[in-house]
Amino acid sequence: MSHAEHHITPIKTLVQVIVALFALTILTVATSRLDLGAFDVLVALAIALTKGALVVSVFMALKYDNKVNAVVFGIGALFVIVFLAFTLFDTAFRGDLSNTTEGTIMEQKAAEEALQQREPDPAALQFNRSNE
């Protein structure tokens, strides 16, 4: 029978994976309750990537599948990174040569208004990222 060689994932493996996924979900909620500062994002992403990898490799059986499908998936993931990274080359470095202000006109206006009111609205001040 031609399908004999299809990989059949044992139920035991599936159960192990779902337990791990549940545990990781609880872990990510737990770590987000702690204040880890800048690491918050990194930890959450690392956990999400682990969970995603588990689903892809075992539930979707990519680990046992034809290599070409893994390549397809890898290329897809790669181009998401390309899209993100190259867009950030711009958005994170705006105005690097032209010396114009980094913030937007709206932000500056909001900051000015907040200052003029003399009764500073904490929210508006907090969100003002113009140079000064």
């Binding site: 031609s2 059949i8 994932t9 996924l21 969970k51 995603g52 979707m60 969100f127």
Partner: protein, 223 residues
Amino acid sequence: MASTAEHPVHLQHHFVSSDQQFDASKMGMWLFLITEILLFSGMFVTYTVYRVWYPEVFDGMAVLLDWRLGGLNTLVLLASSFTVALGIHYAQVDNKKGLVTNLILTFLFACVFLVVKYFEYSAKIEHGIVLGDGFAPHGVSHGVDYATYDVMFAQQFFSIYYVMTGIHGFHVLVGMGLFAWITIRAMKGHFTSAYYTPVELCGLYWHLVDIIWIFLFPLLYLI
């Protein structure tokens, strides 16, 4: 050329063998999945750009999303992924009952997910947190004064929230349609260990929907 007598019913005329047909379908599905990933990538890029620009807003706004409900939905979707994987396992070992049960369970988990989503949406819409121009948070509930969240760029955050979860929810809806269809076919006994391609493909699709949520949950609700 092989004679038609050797052709199983499911084998289309332009394929040489069942294996060729199965491999082709599966590769097609993987290609389709990466188009889905890239579709969502646009939203993830938007999210990242605005998060880098306005981190305080994103931190502040995430408070309005209930991590309990989000977490519950994460567990529900993970469970549904598990039942799909089990279903495929049962299809591979010719256990029709196991297959049908798990497909139905998956469908039910998807329903639960959408019901929870509905409560989340309506709780926000009630307080004027809507998609687009109508954005005007107001009212107080559970000790949260929504009006204080009417700050600059809050609208962007919620636009991203609604568009991402909305498109994701749409995929869940499509998935429910697919599972309804293959459940009926499974009940009719269409699938055996020799031919279960539709189950496999729907399963792949469903796992992807799950993976997208695995990323949406921490990005929107937690950090």
